[in-house]
């Protein structure tokens, strides 16, 4: 039986901490473990989860992408234009278009990184600014309200009315999120492509010698991240009912921190969908808990940041397999 403790130490540890937090919050407040709260948690984090699994693939492949949140905004804007031209559309078309536009933007990153042999952080800092600058320039910073009905109407995949008459529901973005998570998980765990991605992130030279196509790896990694960015952006509009150009600015860092918390290595070769989900939910539940406990919202980021710092630092102690320090 595969020894999970060796290969999935971080995920197990995070799960344990998360369970502890959940237990604590269930006891400390009477609002945490309610259907209403849980469904609302899922609704609010569906987009983050979609982005997280996209970013996960990039991290596994040994890269980093901080342009995806802004890319999502660009996709929102472009998609709105497209739907305007074709005069309507539907969810299937919407997902297709958003996904494709996202892939396009991701391919741009991949091409620059591969073509000019530049580190991904530098290229994605650059594309981040190009996307954001151009987006704000063309939208003049204004929101877009005039959107097709199918896009902004609420669709629920689950509804429940409590005895007291309050409704709890899960909206479509949760459904899309589940699909994205499953497909990504399937890709990285059960296909040869996924295995090549892990290998490429772990030891690019070794992968190259084994015959792995480097360009394909870059394309799949950044393309997938772009696709998830686009789909996430599409769902975000369904939640917000508007295209707000600068709404997503800055969210990439939280997602990155969460995915790394969940076990993805910045150097590549490691990470799992479960870990990414745990990471995002950890941040979300902590924030939710702080809120329910009545702690000032201004303190959230600070506490989250400190937690992440501590977590990143402590997780590195046992996990640097190539530790070259003086032997004990």
């Amino acid at each position: 039986m595969p020894n999970l403790l060796d290969t999935h130490k971080i995920e197990l540890r995070l799960a344990a901490v998360l369970i502890a937090i959940v237990v604590f919050l269930s006891l400390a407040t009477d609002t945490f473990l309610t259907l209403g709260n849980i469904t609302s948690l899922l609704n609010n984090n569906a987009v983050n989860l979609i982005w997280a699994v996209g970013l996960l693939v990039v991290l596994i492949a040994g890269g980093i992408d901080i342009s995806f949140a802004v890319a999502a905004s660009v996709v929102q804007y472009l998609a709105a234009q497209v739907f305007g031209w074709i005069g309507g559309g539907n969810w299937a078309l919407g997902l297709l278009i958003a996904g494709s536009l996202g892939v396009l933007l991701g391919t741009l990153n991949a091409a620059l990184i591969h073509g000019f042999k530049v580190v991904s952080i530098v290229i994605t800092i650059a594309t981040f600014n190009v996307f954001f600058g151009l987006l704000m320039f063309f939208t003049r910073g204004r929101n877009i309200y005039d959107l097709p009905d199918w896009w902004v109407d609420r669709i629920f995949i689950f509804e429940h009315q409590s005895a007291a008459g309050t409704w709890s529901e899960l909206n479509l973005s949760v459904g899309v999120m589940i699909a994205c998570v499953l497909v990504t998980g399937f890709l990285i765990k059960f296909t040869t492509l996924g295995r090549q991605l892990y290998a490429f992130g772990d030891n690019p030279e070794g992968a190259r010698r084994a015959g792995v196509n480097i360009w394909t790896m870059q394309l799949v990694a950044y393309g997938w991240c772009g696709m998830m960015a686009g789909i996430g952006g599409l769902m975000q509009v369904n939640i917000a009912k508007e295209v707000i150009p600068n709404a997503l600015y800055g969210r990439e860092l939280e997602v990155l921190a969460a995915v790394v918390l969940g076990g993805a290595r910045l150097g590549g070769g490691k990470g799992s969908v479960i870990g990414a989900i745990l990471g995002v939910m950890f941040v979300a539940i902590t924030q939710n808990g702080l809120n329910l406990l009545g702690i000032s919202p201004f303190a959230f980021q600070m506490i989250i940041g400190a937690t992440i710092l501590v977590a990143i630092s402590t997780s590195n102690i046992s996990l640097d397999l190539r530790n070259w320090r003086v032997r004990p």
Binding site: I64, L112, F116, K117, V118, V119, I121, V122, I123, I125, A126, T127, F128, N129, V130, F131, F132, G133, L134, L135, M136, F137, G141, L253, E254, L256, A257, V260, L266, G267, S296, F298, A299, F300, Q301, M302, I303, I304, G305, A306, I308, L309, I312, S313, N316, I317, D320, N323, W324
Partner: protein, 330 residues
């Protein structure tokens, strides 16, 4: 020895082409708008560049060591916050020079502390600099927003205007501060044990350890010093804007990275000098002011920065390829 070889040896091979590019850019904007070569504009550029310059110095040494410091902007602003807090304690606009000195010390302490924490985690725990500085960035941003409730802190004494907007012998005070610190940086990198260690461990940290260099101490110091100069940038920003806000200068993060790479710093560490980076800063400031003068939208400028960074990396790639082809042929 030919003059070019001597200049290259003294200042680095990147400097001459950069100076050439600087002259080119000045020429282009002088032609594009009559507002460029005015004392008003030159003065404005001379006042604006130093903050960017100090932040770039803060980014430069971590990059030389093979890392990155994503927390520089929030370190600067949080240090500014410390200064503001002290000033307000001592009466706000009525605060005296003594209070300012105390506040400045507090600011530097804050900057040094945040840098030291990052440096320690990177050096002794071995965590990746990008992640550590990212986490610190999130934390500092959060801390700042918590303390300021997201707003501005203002109400500073008048004498701070001399720091932010004053002239000494016709030269803007911020520019003097920057030039001094740039010179200190040059000395530090070229003539101190610490600077030497930075280059060596940036190139190959294991071999440096093997030869007896104190890499852990050096790494910690790198980020601590980076934090200190962020604090000075924060003080300067407070003096220039007469207020402190957590998000001041957010967009400058990219520009500091751009200035370093444009100035010839190797993204993987081990190579880079102060003078070409300063020339690069001048080029970027001219681009920014020039674009502003010809009426380009601020957001368009942001996009231009990004394209510029891509362009710089593309050129470096092309040059590297051309050079290896030349060597291969001989």
């Amino acid at each position: 020895m030919r003059l070019k070889t001597r200049i290259d040896a003294a200042f680095g091979a990147e400097t001459l082409p950069l100076v050439g590019f600087l002259i080119f850019v000045i020429a282009v904007f002088s032609v594009a708008t009559p507002l460029f070569l005015t004392s008003a504009n030159l003065g404005s550029m001379a006042f604006q560049m130093p903050v960017l310059g100090l932040l770039t110095l803060a980014m430069m040494v971590p990059i030389l060591s093979g890392g990155l410091n994503l927390a520089i902007i929030y370190t600067a602003n949080l240090s500014g916050l410390a200064l503001a807090a002290v000033l307000i304690q001592f009466g706000g606009p009525e605060a005296g020079v003594g209070a300012f000195m105390l506040g400045a010390l507090a600011a530097i302490a804050v900057g040094a502390a945040s840098g030291a924490v990052m440096g320690w985690v990177i050096a002794y725990i071995g965590a990746h600099p990008i992640l550590v500085s990212l986490a610190m960035m999130i934390f500092l941003r959060g801390l700042g927003e918590f303390l300021t409730r997201g707003g501005d802190i203002s109400g500073f004494p008048d004498f701070m205007n001399t720091i932010g907007h004053g002239l000494v012998l016709g030269i803007p005070v911020p520019l003097i501060v920057f030039c001094l610190l740039a010179f200190v940086w040059h000395l530090m990198l070229n003539r101190t044990r610490h600077g030497y260690s930075v280059y060596m461990l940036g190139s190959n940290i294991r071999a440096s350890e093997y030869s007896g260099l104190h890499t852990k101490r050096t790494l910690t110091l790198i980020y601590t010093i980076s934090g200190v100069i962020c604090a000075i940038a924060g003080i300067l920003m407070a003096a220039r804007f007469n207020s402190v806000r957590v998000g001041h200068g957010e967009a400058l993060l990219l520009v500091t990275v751009l200035a370093c790479f444009l100035g010839g710093v190797d993204p993987f560490g081990g190579f880079g000098r102060v003078l070409p980076v300063v020339v690069a800063l001048m080029i970027l400031q001219i681009l920014s002011s020039g674009l502003n003068l010809i009426g380009a939208n601020q957001h368009l400028s942001t996009a231009v920065w990004g394209l510029f960074l891509i362009g710089v990396m593309a050129i470096r790639w092309a040059v590297a390829k051309w050079l290896t082809r030349r060597i291969g042929a001989t």
